[in-house]
Symmetry: C2
Subunit: 102 residues, 2 copies
DNA sequence: ACAATAACTTACTTTATGTAAGTAAGTATA
DNA sequence: TATACTTACTTACATAAAGTAAGTTATTGT
């Protein structure tokens, strides 16, 4: 009975179940943001955030843009693939509202 | 700018982003199942599966039922709270179909 | 020149997970 | 009667992932 789960589903779940990844993506749904903003609003350490953003860039879910202003501004935002996660996030919101205590 | 994310959402994401938890729940959506079935279909180790099922029982997402047959049969199934995760899982399926390669 | 800020990276510690063996209860087999 | 087998776990130990804190590079403000 080994491995009855769809590999694509498994991959998606593998991405989302990386610690912090879901919260990082949820945070980015509210618009492009810089490193330190994500760090403090999500509560993830810089070390892990840096790692996750690289992974998400490799998956083409997040894009990184450098604005050579002064001081330099680096913004992370969602690609179309990343934006497509919105309905999923809304479902998590719904479930948490309906089934979890405040 | 600390902690701008809704605590309920954060808790929901915390549950789902535990390694294996999402796949275990997805597997249980197809009906009640025993320990060893989940173990092999999901690919999780017994050690972690045992831990996860206990956590999910404590969260009232999964229930455990003992049938004193021979040999004893123990089945894990979703509560209403667990079943309510179905739309969310469907969204993950959709996203994975649309955006991930096979 | 000195302190400050953003965006990281590195070194080190703690926690989580994987692996494999062990346990308990009951059944079937030799 | 003793041995082996099955399910559902637990325990002990090794490895991988995450947390913490300090360090780096570039640039600005005082």
């Amino acid at each position: 009975m080994d491995k009855s789960i769809c590999p694509r589903f498994e991959k998606a779940m593998g991405l989302l179940s990386q610690r912090w990844t879901g919260l990082i993506l949820y945070q980015l749904l509210s618009g492009p943001q810089r490193f330190c903003t994500i760090e403090s609003s999500v509560g993830v350490s810089g070390r892990v955030l840096s790692e996750r953003l690289k992974d998400l860039e490799n998956e083409a879910i997040v894009k990184r843009e450098v604005y050579p202003e002064t001081p330099v501004r680096i913004e992370y935002s969602l690609t179309d693939k990343g934006l497509a996660l919105e309905p999923l996030m809304k479902e998590i919101e719904k479930w948490s509202q309906n089934w979890l205590e405040a």
